[in-house]
């Protein structure tokens, strides 16, 4: 493999990469717009983006390939995931279309658009691929890019930096919540706690119960349930606290109860028989 690589082999290798990843990325893209779960969409988009990163690498753009991974897959898409989780973890979308004719029209427009584009590419006389050997020769790809950015495109570069700053500030302003009360200090919190009805910490979940899952309420000494032991967030998510205080499935609990009952009855019978024996 060392030494000269034949142009034909090069072509074949690229074809293999292309066909595998092209199919994968189109499938992922289609999946992205068709699956219901937003997180799946994001993951499928990540697949597309990583495929594109590979394409960039093949197309002699190593810097862009890694920037694609870091910026798009790493930062942008992660931001998407973050927001998905903020605005609704299990956000699955109803796929029923509400606007009449939207889907059909979208399909028609999409097909027409892509058909026209491909038609255009098919008829266009594309020049023979030059390759970036010469462009990357002097110091490599990174240096070449840097040279262009800081000479020919320096104004655009500065403008984008201003844009980034503006965007960051804008996002901060948009996502900002104005504090309308001063933040309580630890001293204030402790004072409030001492003045409240309960000085001690809340009971942890699962105390005296069969198991200590966070949604399993603690049992008080008299056997009743302590509502305070389960975080209201969890209680709301689960639609109330555990209905079965022993932490078992209903049928298992019934079986368990039956066994216990049988054991008690048997023991009673045994005791009775012993007493009878003694009396005899």
């Amino acid at each position: 493999m060392s030494g000269v690589v034949a142009a034909g082999a090069h072509q074949t290798g690229e074809s293999v990469i292309f066909w595998v990843l092209a199919v994968a990325s189109v499938a992922a893209a289609l999946g992205m717009i068709l699956v219901r779960k937003v997180v799946y969409s994001a993951l499928l988009l990540a697949v597309v983006m990583l495929s594109l990163a590979v394409f960039y690498a093949v197309n002699e753009a190593p810097f862009l390939a890694f920037v694609q991974v870091i910026v798009y897959t790493g930062a942008v898409l992660m931001l998407f995931l973050f927001v998905v989780m903020v605005v609704g973890v299990s956000s699955t979308e109803s796929m029923v279309e509400t606007i009449r004719g939207q889907r059909v029209a979208a399909a028609v427009a999409g097909i027409a658009f892509v058909a026209l584009l491909i038609l255009g590419f098919g008829h266009a006389t594309l020049p023979a691929t030059t390759g970036l050997k010469d462009a990357n020769a002097a110091g490599g790809n990174v240096l070449g890019l840097a040279r262009l950015i800081f000479t020919k495109y320096v104004f655009a570069f500065e403008v984008t930096s201003a844009l980034l700053i503006t965007a960051a500030l804008g996002a901060m302003v948009l996502a900002h919540r104005e504090r309308i009360t001063p933040k309580p200090t630890q001293r204030q919190l402790s004072e409030a706690r001492i003045r409240s009805d309960r000085v001690s910490p809340l009971p942890p979940p699962g105390t005296y119960a069969r198991h200590n899952a966070v949604d399993m309420p603690a049992l008080l000494p008299d056997g009743t349930v302590s509502e305070l032991s389960v975080s209201p967030v969890i209680a709301r998510r689960r639609g109330g606290t555990h209905e079965d205080l022993h932490g078992e499935l209903p049928e298992v609990a019934a079986k368990h109860e039956a066994t216990t009952l049988r054991a008690v009855v048997e023991r009673q019978v045994e005791v009775d028989s012993k007493v009878e024996e003694k009396e005899k």
Partner: protein, 98 residues
């Protein structure tokens, strides 16, 4: 070979566009927009290689920067809308109509 990339880019772009049209979740729509941007980036990189200059890569680089800025602001807007309307569906934000 470069023509293949262009066709792939067109297909991905169209898929993104159709996704914008048929999905209601603002976040997914945003993802579709990102897909479209990515598709154009692919075309730029391919052209860059085709013509033997790095300008296409530079443009792709700028597209990424602008996309990052756009995502930051867009997601902040989605958050703000979600905070006040408890919904991230773009069809719910249809006050600006006849």
């Amino acid at each position: 070979m470069t023509g293949h990339y262009l066709v792939l880019s067109a297909i991905l772009f169209t898929i993104g566009g159709v996704g914008v049209l048929i999905r209601r979740n603002a976040i997914v729509i945003f993802m579709c927009v990102e897909l479209m941007l990515n598709a154009t980036n692919l075309a730029f990189v391919s052209f860059s290689r085709m013509h033997g200059t790095l300008d296409g890569q530079i443009i792709a680089f700028f597209v990424m920067v602008v996309a990052a800025a756009e995502v930051v602001v867009g997601l902040a807007i989605i958050m703000a809308i979600f905070r006040s309307r408890k919904s991230s569906s773009v069809d719910d934000a249809n006050l600006l109509k006849y």
